[in-house]
Structure formats: C-alpha cells, structure tokens
C-alpha cells in the first residue's frame, strides 16, 4: 500500500513552494560514495508518495575509476513527476555533485542545460593547491556555460554529525533533496531505516540524523523550493529495475534452472534472485563459461525442466552454436540478452540495442527462433513468463531482449499477483503414445510434442544433425527440406495468433515512429510533445520481433514517412562516401525494410546513452520542417 503523506513537517510552510509538473535530478560522484543509493531512495520515496518515477544509473566501466576523473562519473538520474514517467527525459534540472570534475563527462553527454542548478561540494576549494585551482577554474567554466551554481559545504555539515563524512554524505544529500522537492519526511525516514535494516541501530540513527540535517540545511540556504503534486493509487505497487523484474519473472515462470556466467549488465538479474530462488523451487547454476551455461540449460530443458540462461552480447556470441542446436533439435529454452554496447567487449555498462540482427540471424543455416522485447520494467517481469510458455508451446528457444537502460532503470508498476498457472507444470512422465513420432511435425503449424526422458516408449536420441521425424540422422534432401520448413512454419503459426500493434496517436499522418525495447517511453513522449505542437506524428512499439507482428505494411502505408528510433548504429547520408544507395540502416529499419518493402528511415546512434525525447524531437523538426522544441 502507498502510505499517506500526511506528516509534512511544519517548517516546509515557512516558504512558498513552486508547483512543478516534474523534475529531473542527478546525483554524481566518484564511485563508492553512495550516489546511487541516494537517488534510488529518492525514487522510492517519490514512488511511495504516488509520483511517477524513472531512475537511471550513471555507471563508469570500472569498479573504482581514479577519483575526480572527468569520465568517471558514477551516479544516478531521477526523473519524477505528477504523471507516469516512462523515460529519463532530456536535461537535468538540478544536479548534486560530490566533486566538480565528474560533471565534465555529463556536460559532454549533453545532460544539462543553461539554468540547471549545480549543487557542488565545496571542500575541494580548500583541498590541495592543485585541486583548489582545478575547482575554481571549473566553477568559473560552469558559470560561463550558464549553470546556476551553489557551492555547498557538504563535508563540513556532515562532520557536525558523524566522524567520517564519506559514509553518510549521501543520506545528508537525500535529506536536502527531500526538502527542495517537498518529499514526505516520514516516508524518507522509513526508507533510510529500510536501507540500513541489516545494520545496527547506531548506524540507522546516525543516518537518520544526517537525513534530518540535510533537510534542515535546505530550509535556510536555497531560494528555490518545489512541490510535485502526486496522486495516491489504491492499487498495490512495486518499484524495481528491469533486471530485478526479470529475476522475479524467472521465479514466477516456475523456471527451476537459471544457468549463467557473470557478465555486465546482465548478472545483477541473477543477484536479485540469488537469495530467494531456492525457496522458490529453483537453483542458479554458475557455469564455468558462457558456452557451458547454455549447454547446462539445454540439458536441463531436454530433461523436461525448461531453463533460462541470462547473458549479454559477448555471451550470445559464445552461445551461438548451442542456440543453433536448440533450434535444430527443438529444445524449449529461454535466453535473456541484456544488451550492451558492442561489438566485442564494447561498452559493458552502456546501453545499445545492437543484438537484434545477431540473435535473429547469428547462426549457421536457417535458424528461426522467437524474439520478444519488453519495453517497460513491468514487461521485463511478464515477458519471462510469456517466454517460457512460448518456448514450451512451440518447442523452441525464445529470446528476451532487454538492454542496459531497462536493466538499471527503475519504475513503479502495479504489483503482479503471482498465479500458479504461470508456473511450469510437473513434467509429463506418462508413457509416450505409441506410434507418435518424436518430431511429428504438424503439416499446418510445424509444431510437434516432445518426449521427456522418463517417458516410457519415447526413447530417442536428440541430434544436431539433420534428422527425420524419428530423430534419425538423415541426409535425404526431401527430409531436410521438410524439417527446415517445419521449424520455420512454427513462427508463422505463432504470428497467426498475434494482433497488429496499437498505434499511439492518430491512425494516419505525416510520420510514424517505430521502436522496440527500452526506447518506448522516449518515443511516445516525443510523439506526444510533437502532436501538442500540431505535428501529425504517431508511434508504434514492437514487442514481437520474431515472428514480426502482423499488419505492419498496412499501418506504414497510412503515413507519409516511417522512421525507426533505435539505439544502434546506422550510417548518416552526407558523411564522406555515404549515399542513399550504400547507407547501412539501423537494425530494425533494415529488418522492416526487408519484411515490408517500405522505405523506412531511421534515427539511431551509439552514444551509449538512453534515447531522450529531445533527440527525437530534433530529428522530427528536420523531417517535418516544424518547430517542436521551445
């Protein structure tokens, strides 16, 4: 239940608060200073108050990059508003920086705008001479860029309450932000108690003291105080990131074997379930490598316990041979790919939607498999349950493609009510029906039922070699044609059950934006903002990528232009040597062009950042020749 924010402290009435619809706040620091915990708490508090929230982590590639390094920003962005928030938004309104150097990286990423409040720890002004000079230069530079600077004695203030300011400064900042944005102090207190629930009472008390101190400090020392009205919901809500949602989805799907090898940014999904999964009837197997992880999962699935393997791009590359085997031998299996920047080791902690074509085609021969892509945190949960069902119904591997943005983005959603029918049923150990072949490919759907070890009379040898309906190795040309056709037919059979995607906005117009995965919030917000300015922009968002959702060609034909919005690479016409003829399209655009023979353009980039509405609006301005940004 969302608690009632009734207990606002009286001092908040001492000044006028500006009512705002939403705010984007960042907390940035060196690694290990607790910025993320501070932001997550702010997000949780706001969600509990009934605000819409989206948080996204700012993660350096290393665990501990050198202190005060320009590219080493570790932190978090919290966007909160009166309505539902679906993406990280454009520019931050207010930033708390525990040192000034980490701001440079964020400024390079265009995260701020003139007028953004920068609240900077001022202890560096009196640090070593070198640091003090760098600090002063930076402050001057930031002023020139038009930011509103507040130099804050955070360390000094914290030392009034604790002996080591490094531990607890984040809670002081949380208190400060709670005041600036009118957060419910009682909810904040409970949040602090929750964070430190495993620590002793002394630590809880000192953090509560810091929370209050930060809150107090903000009362006197700032001219700006805001309030973001919220609506309390009667419904139960949960707030978590996409990897946590996946972990709950794995357990709610009744999957007994989660077989993995550590890889960023996928592994935190395993962490989130590690403490619970054994009580939920499953086990995590940490394999010796990525190949073994999927091999183990395939073995468990073959033995009737449909398994999941969770990985990211480089892991998918290694697993490819087993994926081919699972397709060939029709082994149900769930493969979750939390995509990151590629190719190769790429950008381990940054977002990219770069694996679509790799999972679609990355296997020798024809290798049809089901690919679904959740577009929200909530869907991360439900799609795992869906994936297992599809895997078993269609006797096939099913990919769930998420990305680093969904993995670390936090959003509240209605609490799922776990249903027993989501679970895998007990495995069939009844005798195999006599005369039924192991691959009894249905003429219309290609679907067949599989025997599970333990079933009397169902004995067969699964093989990755071309095989006939009895799973006997067969090199006969007609048999191979039939087998490959049957496996492909299953996708058509699944497609026949799908509905065309819902069009967000008008059913026809000048521009249709097409997205998949984590970009949905940004796309729909951009399209909405464009429509408010009179542009005829609509959007669709694809959840099924293989098989492709039906009706697309018809939908496309009702718009003058169709453009995908994706976080992956495409050539830009006009760059040296790049022409309309040779340009390489982004992945979904490439795929949709081939599928629908529609001239589809793309907006895509590989900055490693989540897509922001303003990036899309800028492109729309160009495409539609309109002014859409204030």
């Amino acid at each position: 239940m969302i608690s009632n924010p009734a207990s606002q402290p009286s001092e908040t009435n001492r000044f006028e608060r500006t009512k705002i619809k939403e705010a984007i706040i960042e907390i940035v620091s060196d690694s290990g200073e607790g910025a993320q915990k501070c932001g997550q708490s702010l997000g949780a508090i706001s969600a509990k108050m009934g605000n819409g929230v989206w948080t996204v982590e700012i993660i350096p590639a290393e665990i501990q990059p050198p202190a005060r390094s320009k590219a080493g920003a570790s932190g978090i962005r919290v966007r909160m508003g009166s309505n539902k928030i679906t993406n990280m938004g454009d520019h931050a309104d207010l930033v708390v920086a525990l040192n000034e150097q980490v701001l440079y990286g964020r400024i390079d990423q265009n995260a701020y705008k003139p007028g953004t409040y920068l609240l900077i720890e001022n202890k560096w002004a009196t640090h070593t001479e070198e640091t003090a000079i760098a600090y002063k230069e930076s402050i001057e530079h930031f002023k020139e860029l038009g930011y509103k600077i507040f130099e804050i004695p955070m360390e000094k203030e914290c030392l009034k309450h604790v002996s080591d300011a490094k531990k607890g400064k984040n809670m002081w900042v949380l208190g400060l932000l709670c005041n600036l944005y009118d957060r419910d102090l009682e909810i904040a207190e409970n949040q602090v108690k929750y964070i430190f629930r495993k620590k002793d009472e002394k630590i809880i008390q000192s953090n509560l003291e810091l929370l209050h101190a930060g809150y107090e400090y903000a009362t006197e020392n700032f001219p700006m105080h805001f309030t973001i009205p919220s609506k309390l919901s009667e419904e139960d809500y949960v707030v978590m990131n996409g990897n946590e949602a996946i972990s709950l989805g794995v357990m709610a799907a009744g999957i007994e074997v989660c077989s993995m090898y550590p890889i960023t940014p996928a592994t935190s999904a395993t962490h989130a379930m590690a403490e619970t999964i054994e009580s939920a009837g499953g086990i995590i197997h940490q394999a010796e490598d990525e190949i073994a992880a999927i091999g183990f999962a395939v073995g468990a699935s073959y033995a009737g316990k449909t398994a999941v393997t969770i990985t990211s791009g480089p892991g998918i590359a290694l697993k490819t041979e087993f994926i081919g085997l699972a397709v060939m031998a029709e082994v149900p299996l769930v493969i979750i790919d939390v995509q990151r920047g590629g190719p190769s080791t790429g950008l381990p902690t940054k977002v990219e939607q770069g694996d679509l074509l790799a999972v679609l085609y990355g296997a020798p021969g024809d290798s049809p498999k089901v690919i679904i892509a959740p577009s929200t945190i909530e869907e991360c949960f439900h799609f795992v349950i869906l994936a297992r069902k599809l895997a078993e119904s269609f006797r096939t591997p099913v990919f769930v493609l998420t990305d680093a943005n969904l993995a670390t983005g936090v959003q509240p959603f209605p609490r799922p009510k776990i249903k027993s029918e989501w679970f895998a049923g007990p495995i069939d150990q009844s005798p195999w029906k006599e005369g039924v072949k192991v691959y009894d490919w249905d003429k219309n759907t290609g679907i067949s039922k599989r025997p599970i070890p333990g079933q009397k009379g169902g004995m067969y040898t699964l093989t990755g070699l071309a095989h006939d309906e009895d799973s006997h190795v067969a090199y006969d040309p007609a048999i191979n044609q039939r087998a490959v056709e049957s496996r492909s037919r299953k996708l058509a059979a699944l497609r026949a059950t799908l509905k065309p995607p819902t069009i967000h906005g008008d059913q026809e117009g000048d521009m249709l934006l097409v997205g998949w995965g984590s970009t949905r919030g940004a796309i729909e917000e951009a399209a909405e903002r464009a429509r408010e300015k009179g542009a005829k922009v609509s959007s669709i968002h694809l959840r099924f990528l293989s098989p492709m959702e039906p009706g697309l060609k018809d939908i496309f034909s009702k718009f003058k232009k169709v453009m995908t919005v994706e976080i992956n690479y495409s050539d830009t016409v006009g760059n040296p040597l790049i022409t309309e003829e040779n340009r390489r399209y982004s992945q979904l655009a490439w795929y949709l062009r081939a599928q629908t023979l529609t001239d589809i353009d793309c907006l895509s980039n590989v900055f490693g950042q989540p897509m922001s509405p303003i990036q899309i609006l800028k492109r729309l301005e160009k495409e539609l020749n309109l002014t859409l940004i204030d």
């Binding site: 969302i2 969600a47 809500y237 949960v238 707030v239 978590m240 946590e244 709950l248 357990m251 007994e256 074997v257 077989s259 379930m273 403490e275 619970t276 054994e278 009580s279 939920a280 009837g281 499953g282 086990i283 197997h285 394999a287 010796e288 190949i291 073994a292 091999g295 183990f296 999962a297 395939v298 073995g299 468990a300 699935s301 073959y302 033995a303 009737g304 316990k305 398994a307 041979e321 087993f322 085997l325 609490r415 776990i418 679970f423 025997p451 070890p453 333990g454 079933q455 009397k456 009379g457 169902g458 004995m459 067969y460 040898t461 699964l462 093989t463 990755g464 070699l465 006997h472 190795v473």
Partner: protein, 320 residues
C-alpha cells in the same frame, strides 16, 4: 513378463519388466569394422542389462566425433550434441533429474581439446554419472588429424612429419582436478576388464571418469597393434577396492601391480607409468567427495504455495 533371476531362483512378479540385452540395442552401429567402439557398445549394453536400467530412465549424452555416435545405437534416451559440450549438457540433465542414469560418451578430441574447460569443471562438480572417454588418440571422423593424446611423433594429416608436442595424459590430468572422485583406465580388447570397470564406475557415488584405450584400425593401427599384441605392454592395477577380476581373467596379465585406489598421490605416480606400459585398473576413488547433483536436487518437490510465498516475500521488498 516372467523371468528367472538365477542367483535367487525367485520368480519376479508378472508386471515387473525384465530387460534383455536386445532391449538396449537400436540401429546397427556404423563404426568401421574392427573399431574398438563396437566392443564398448556391447559392454555398455551388458552393463545396462545387468543393472536392469529402465531404458526410459537412462540417458546417453555425447559430443561430436566417432565415439559420439554412440547414443544413436542405444535404445535409451540420447543426446548427440555439440563438439566438446557433452559434459555441460549431461550436468544439466542430471541437475534436476536425480532419477535418471546419465552416461557421457566423449572422445579424446571432444574431451581433452575442444571441451577441455568443461572436463576440468565436470570433474569438480562430481555429479553422479559415468563418463567414458573413448581415447583412440586421433581425430577419426575428420580423417586423421593429431589429437591431444596422439603420441609424440604421430604422423597425421596435420603433422605429416610427426606431431611435435607431447600428448596430454588424461588420467594424470584428471587426477589433478579439484574434487576428483573416480579415475579408472581400461582397454577395449579385454572385455572382462572393460565390463568390470564399467560396473565399478556405475556403482560409484559421483562422477566416474573412465578412459578407455581404444583401437582405431583405420588411422592408428601402427600405434595400437604393439600394445594389443605384446603381453608386456599392459600392467594390471590390482587391489581389493579396485576393479575385481576373476583368476582366469587375471592370468592373462603378465604384469600385475598392487595399487590402493584411496591413495591420490600414489595414483598420480602410477599414472606416470604410461611412458613404459599402460596401467589399467582403478587409479583413484573417493566415495565421499562433495556432489553438486545433491545440491542441485536438494529443493525438488517444494509446493507451488511455498514457491509463491517465497516470491511474494521478495516482492514485498520492492513494495511501495
């Protein structure tokens, strides 16, 4: 079906199924004539019959190569998977299915080269299964390339002037892996020893690793013939806790060495003998090594209500 068990002269109840050796045979094996795999196949089928393993509860998992065709010739469940990857698949099969009898059929290329990483870890997992390494010291199916166990100087299509790196000794290697619990060596041309070794391996509570020195008459005749023909080429490892042979079978060995299979250090020393002679028998056994399959199965059978309860408890943490 009614049948007699001669040892006890007991009539089995009519509904109890009795399996004959034919019940385990599938299609005719397509290995070359004279290939050692034929005798191993027969010996494994014999073991299945002796143990009366229900075919539907028995799974043969293999990789790729000559030996890995094995599951196709068994009328049990089988998994003929990827080159080098039999062990992870077999581990996955066993993890949540303690009721299944799992056998792994792998070759020297499969186990000791492309799948070597899995070999190390499967030994460490020590899940109850029998792993049979069909070691003919050559890549056969791809037509004579040097294998990781080819003796130094082996002439092959990849090393026509003779291989240049010493081979892996699979016994010695396995004895070096953490949590190793059963290592034996046998040969395909002495059925009595082969049968007794398979029986001992099957009874082992953990992963039983058996290297079977196997003849390849097509590519490796010159390498094996001396071992097969020279009675001095073999040394039988004998011990009351080892592979037990009757006196008649024992009498066919000229060299018999006492070796206590509980002694790991000694086992490693004996494994070095291979330079002069091929020691066969049980090198090492530890029935108390930690078993990963026991961990894997420890929470089977939790009720749906309990499972939902656990998930909801975790969900409470995210509740607002």
């Amino acid at each position: 079906m009614i049948s007699f068990q001669p040892d006890f002269c007991e009539i089995l109840p009519p509904d109890e199924e009795h399996y004959s050796i034919e019940d385990y045979g599938s299609s005719k094996a397509r290995w070359c004539s004279g290939c050692g795999a034929h005798t191993i196949l027969h010996s494994v089928q014999k073991l299945c019959e002796e143990e009366q393993l229900p075919p539907e509860k028995t799974v043969f998992v293999s990789g790729i190569g000559c030996s890995s065709r094995f599951p196709h010739y068994m009328k049990t469940y089988g998994f003929h998977g990827l080159h080098g990857r039999a062990l992870p698949v077999a581990s996955g099969v066993k993890f949540r299915r303690p009721d299944l009898n799992v056998f792994v059929i792998t070759g020297d290329g499969d186990c000791c080269s492309i799948g070597a990483g899995h070999w190390v870890h499967a030994i460490r997992y020590n899940m109850k299964m029998v792993v049979l390494l069909f070691d003919n010291s050559i890549y056969g199916l791809t037509k004579k390339q040097t294998s990781p166990t080819s003796p130094l100087g082996t002439h092959s299509n990849t090393h026509p002037r003779g291989s240049v790196i010493p081979p892996i000794n699979p016994i010695q290697s396995t004895l070096g892996f953490a949590n190793v619990s059963f290592v034996a060596q046998t040969i395909d041309w002495k059925p009595a020893h082969l049968n007794a070794t398979l029986k001992k391996a099957f009874d082992h509570p953990g992963l039983a690793f058996v290297r079977i020195v196997q003849r390849c008459p097509i590519w490796m005749r010159d390498t094996y013939e001396p071992t097969v023909k020279d009675p001095n080429a073999l040394t039988l490892l004998d011990h009351e806790d080892g592979i037990l042979l009757d006196e008649k079978a024992k009498s066919t060995f000229r060299h018999i060495q006492q070796h206590d299979p509980s002694n790991l250090i000694k086992a490693r020393e004996v494994a070095e003998l291979v330079k002069e002679t091929t020691p066969i028998g049980l090198f090492y056994q530890n029935k108390n090594a930690i078993r990963y399959d026991e961990y894997g199965a420890h929470n089977l059978g939790i009720s749906v209500e309990e499972r939902i309860g656990a998930i909801n408890t975790l969900m409470d943490r995210y509740a607002i």
